[in-house]
């Protein structure tokens, strides 16, 4: 009888684990902490700025981090630099044309070279990057940190998990038609991008 009860609990545990599946993390951060930073380091001028208008969802399974998929969207209009005139130029049709191309999108389709230690997973996210209406295949090194039951520490009265994603990669503005004729000694062709974002999966 005792053995049967133990077996029942084991089966129930396995079944619930199998049913748990991937969690959906929403990256629209009500605290406004999520950000993407960009840096262009040309010989004559270094330009750096950030963007805060981040949204998107990521499907993450704590039992199988390698199966992570998702899409992160940055509102192009949220890109800012410390000089107002430079910001207006950057948003203009010669550069990012934010009035027409409102979103900058990174979509992760699969993870490769997945390494998980405790709650931290590092991998190469294979997917696409869309900027100014041009979509290209990219492979981006990412670090995922799963924070179980930590949502309540950020949002009072909320229960659930957090997923922190960090990524750092480089793109070429000429690949995406961002004023490709602009002299590279003033505005670098390479754009260094850093993403630091946290998503929430509230318990239902």
């Amino acid at each position: 009888m005792k053995k049967q009860i133990v077996s029942l609990f084991v089966i129930a545990g396995l079944a619930s684990a199998a049913l748990a599946g991937p969690l959906t993390f929403d990256f629209k951060d009500p605290k406004g902490v999520n950000n993407a930073q960009f840096k262009l380091d040309a010989p004559l001028e270094a330009i750096s700025g950030s963007a805060g208008g981040i949204s998107g969802t990521v499907m993450f399974d704590p039992a199988n981090p390698g199966a992570t998929k998702g899409k992160i969207v940055v509102a192009a209009e949220s890109l800012t630099v410390p000089n107002t005139m430079m910001k207006d130029h950057m948003h203009g049709n010669q550069w990012l044309d934010v009035a027409t191309h409102k979103e900058i999108i990174f979509e992760a389709k699969e993870l490769k070279n997945v390494k998980t230690a405790d709650t931290v997973t590092t991998a190469d996210a294979v997917g696409t990057f869309t900027l100014k209406g041009v979509t290209k295949d990219v492979t981006v090194p990412v670090k995922l940190t799963y924070l179980k039951d930590k949502l309540g520490q950020r949002m009072p009265n909320a229960k659930g998990d957090l997923l922190v994603i960090r990524a750092n990669f480089t793109i070429k503005r000429s690949d995406y038609g961002v004023n490709p004729k602009a002299p590279t000694d003033k505005v670098a062709d390479e754009i260094d991008l850093t993403l630091s974002i946290a998503g929430a999966a509230p318990q239902k």
């Binding site: 406004g32 805060g52 950020r154 957090l162 922190v164 630091s196």
Partner: protein, 86 residues
């Protein structure tokens, strides 16, 4: 008049250099906002907020010094008053 313009030019040049130096001696372009970073202790992410701030750059310095030089230049169009003879 000549003397007044020259004094004004020197005062303007000094004021421009002093305010540029006092507001951070920024060697880039003039900035109208600056980033304030705050660490989110739960996630470890540094949140970025942009707040209004005026940090004059080399464009401000150049334009100010050019204006001072212009004033000094204009002063040379005025002749010294001739001493009256008895």
């Amino acid at each position: 008049m000549k003397k007044t313009l020259q004094v004004l030019a020197v005062v303007l040049a000094l004021a421009i250099v002093a305010s540029w130096a006092a507001l951070g001696a920024n060697r880039g372009w003039t900035k109208t906002s600056r980033e304030v970073r705050q660490l989110d202790e739960v996630t470890g992410i540094e949140g970025i907020t942009n707040v209004s701030a005026f940090m004059p750059g080399v464009d401000f310095l150049g334009a100010g010094l050019l204006a001072a030089a212009g004033l000094a230049g204009v002063s040379f169009f005025f002749r010294k008053p001739k001493p009256t003879t008895i």
